[in-house]
């Protein structure tokens, strides 16, 4: 009896000793979750949240550094100013147009690239590299390079045209040609990322589904539309989210290719924000523009997220 009592006591002490450790090494799920999310949260707070708050604050103030005057509260003046600013509307329209053209464009091209890359090549790395390079090429480099490609005299595009017996086009002399060149460049640059994600999605579709469809009598095209496409939907939505958000932020490519020219016909909202903030030093107005753009991206994200959730 006594011996049994001692052992339980010893066991108790043992347990108490470990308990202290338990608290340290084995926090509860919730504590652990908080601890693990902490570094990310801190970083985001520091680098994004705080600056964004400053930005919102600034957007409600008159703060143009070229005036040298201190910030004064302006209410929604910066926002109302936007309504009658033709350049705001033009750049917003250009941004929306670029989004509407290049997002589906990149999706289609990306889909085609992914389907092609999914073929059984013996040597895989050149194909993979070709898919990855455009993605890894810095945007500003891509803009520079393509501006060079589309140069009316020294560009390779017009050279090919001429060799084929066509007249060269002075791409950046015309709003529509310049717009086309920019969109082409964006599609080239971004379609490979789309392709990568779609390729990833393609490879998760079980092969037996195609066999089942084949036995069921479906031909190639039917298989594509009845199996491949529906099953790719989740991948496509994710790709679209990222693509659309970056399309709304389009900056580097038109900036390096045309500077928004001719005139302001290819300027985007992001360029206009940059211009107002960094060139014109009108921080109040620039911030208000940025807030509008943020709202725009958030709206798009929200729509997509709802799409994902509706499915799930």
């Amino acid at each position: 009896m006594a011996i049994a009592g001692e052992t339980t006591l010893a066991a108790r002490q043992d347990e108490n000793a470990t308990k202290r450790w338990v608290r340290f090494l084995d926090p509860s799920e919730r504590t652990l979750a908080v601890l693990l999310l902490m570094p990310a949260a801190l970083l985001l707070a520091l680098i994004i949240v705080y600056p964004v708050c400053r930005l919102v604050w600034t957007s409600f103030h008159n703060l143009s550094l070229t005036s040298g005057a201190p910030a004064t509260f302006a209410g929604i003046e910066n926002y109302t100013l936007m309504l009658e600013d033709p350049v705001f509307w033009e750049t917003t329209w250009n941004t929306v147009l670029i989004t509407l053209i290049t997002v589906p464009g990149a999706l289609l091209v990306g889909m085609a690239l992914a389907l092609m890359a999914n073929l059984p090549f013996k040597v895989k790395w050149p194909v993979r590299l070709s898919l990855l390079i455009p993605w890894a090429l810095p945007l500003s480099f891509a803009g520079l390079i393509f501006a060079w490609f589309f140069h009316s005299e020294y560009g390779v595009v017009n050279d090919v045209f001429r060799r084929l017996g066509f007249e060269g086009v002075i791409w950046f002399n015309s709003a529509s040609w310049a717009f086309a060149a920019i969109c082409l460049t964006i599609v080239w640059k971004t379609s490979s990322f789309m392709a990568l994600i779609i390729l990833a999605g393609l490879q998760t579709i079980p092969h037996s589904l195609y066999e089942a469809a084949e036995v069921d009598g479906a031909g190639r095209f039917r298989q594509f539309f009845e199996i491949t496409l529906p099953l790719l939907k989740p991948s496509i939505v994710v790709a679209l989210i990222f693509r659309t958000i970056t399309a709304l932020q389009t900056f580097d490519i038109p900036f390096t290719m045309t500077r928004g020219g001719p005139g302001t016909s290819t300027a985007t909202l992001a360029m206009y924000i940059h211009q107002n903030t960094v060139d014109f030093l009108d921080l109040g107005y620039g911030s208000a523009l940025a807030v509008v753009m943020f709202a725009l991206s958030m709206a798009v994200t929200a729509v997509y997220l709802r799409m994902i959730r509706a499915k799930g």
């Binding site: 693990l36 994004i48 070709s130 390079i133 455009p134 890894a136 001429r162 390729l199 084949e214 903030t277």
Partner: protein
């Protein structure tokens, strides 16, 4: 998977067609890079020749020599490399922790947190330039690698976290349980078992973070004015004068800048694609 059915062979996977498709893919992806390579081997005079030449007439390495001597290109490479590597490491560390919490622990509002992370990534950094500069100055970080590493980490954090979340979700819980029974703590199990097993995902996230950091220009220009700390994209603009734009030399520098990333990609391409494949980005 080889789809070797009778009617298959007559169709898309016919060998000549496949070669043609491969050719299209390679041209589409590589042409600009190749063009830059060719340009870097031409003289400036050849560049303004009409009609333009494709392959360089008299290939010269002079532009490379100038690229390395006009500016401290090696230093740019070194800085870019260190900043990219360090921010990649930090990104991975932070996003591994966050992704694990989101993938495995029972957290209320998990979807909300994920959405918030995506939403945050929608904010264009350009517009945050000034407040960020103030923060970096307040923290005394201007003209240090850290000034770039922190924002770059945030730049890649959302997408890396998303990738890792779906990877971790794909790892059987029993492996972790097994490790915990075998004597690991939860965090021990995460780093000893879960992370090594998510290698493709970690590589994919890593390359993404690396490329993002390798490419960034605006912050690098604004936060690090010290010539000793310049990164490659900023460095490359230095070849350009107030007016002069020496294409061949800049091309040479561009080539030097693209090569490390291309090498990285060739080394890890299997993992990157398979990383994206294993449900990599599922949203």
């Amino acid at each position: 998977m080889n789809r070797d059915t009778p009617d298959n062979r007559s169709f898309l996977s016919g060998k000549p067609l496949r070669i043609l498709i491969g050719f299209i893919l390679v041209v589409n992806g590589m042409f600009p890079a190749l063009w830059i390579l060719f340009t870097s081997l031409k003289t400036e005079t050849e560049l303004t020749a009409k009609p333009i030449t494709w392959l360089p007439h008299a290939p010269t390495l002079a532009n490379y020599l100038r690229a390395f001597t006009d500016q401290p290109l090696i230093l740019f490479l070194f800085n870019s490399f260190m900043v990219a590597i360090l921010s990649t490491a930090l990104t991975l560390f932070v996003s591994v922790l966050a992704a694990y919490a989101l993938a495995r622990l029972q957290i209320r509002g998990r979807d909300l947190i994920l959405s918030a992370i995506i939403a945050v990534s929608t904010f264009p950094l350009v517009t945050l330039l000034v407040p960020l500069f103030e923060i970096m100055r307040a923290l005394g970080l201007l003209n240090t690698w850290v000034a770039l590493i922190l924002p770059y980490t945030v730049l890649s954090l959302p997408v890396c976290t998303l990738i890792l979340v779906s990877f971790f979700e794909g790892i059987p819980r029993d492996l972790e349980n097994s490790a915990m029974i075998d004597g690991c703590t939860r965090i021990g199990a995460l780093f000893k078992i879960v992370v090594p097993l998510s290698a493709p995902g970690v590589f994919t996230a890593g390359i993404l973070a690396f490329v993002n950091a390798w490419d960034e220009f605006l912050l690098a220009l604004s936060f690090n004015s010290n010539p000793m700390l310049r990164t490659l994209p900023v460095g490359i603009t230095l070849y350009q004068g107030e007016f002069a734009f020496p294409w061949p030399v800049i091309s040479a520098a561009l080539v030097v800048g693209i090569v490390p990333v291309a090498v990285l990609i060739v080394i890890f391409q299997e993992r990157v694609v398979s990383g994206l494949t294993s449900g990599g980005i599922k949203g």
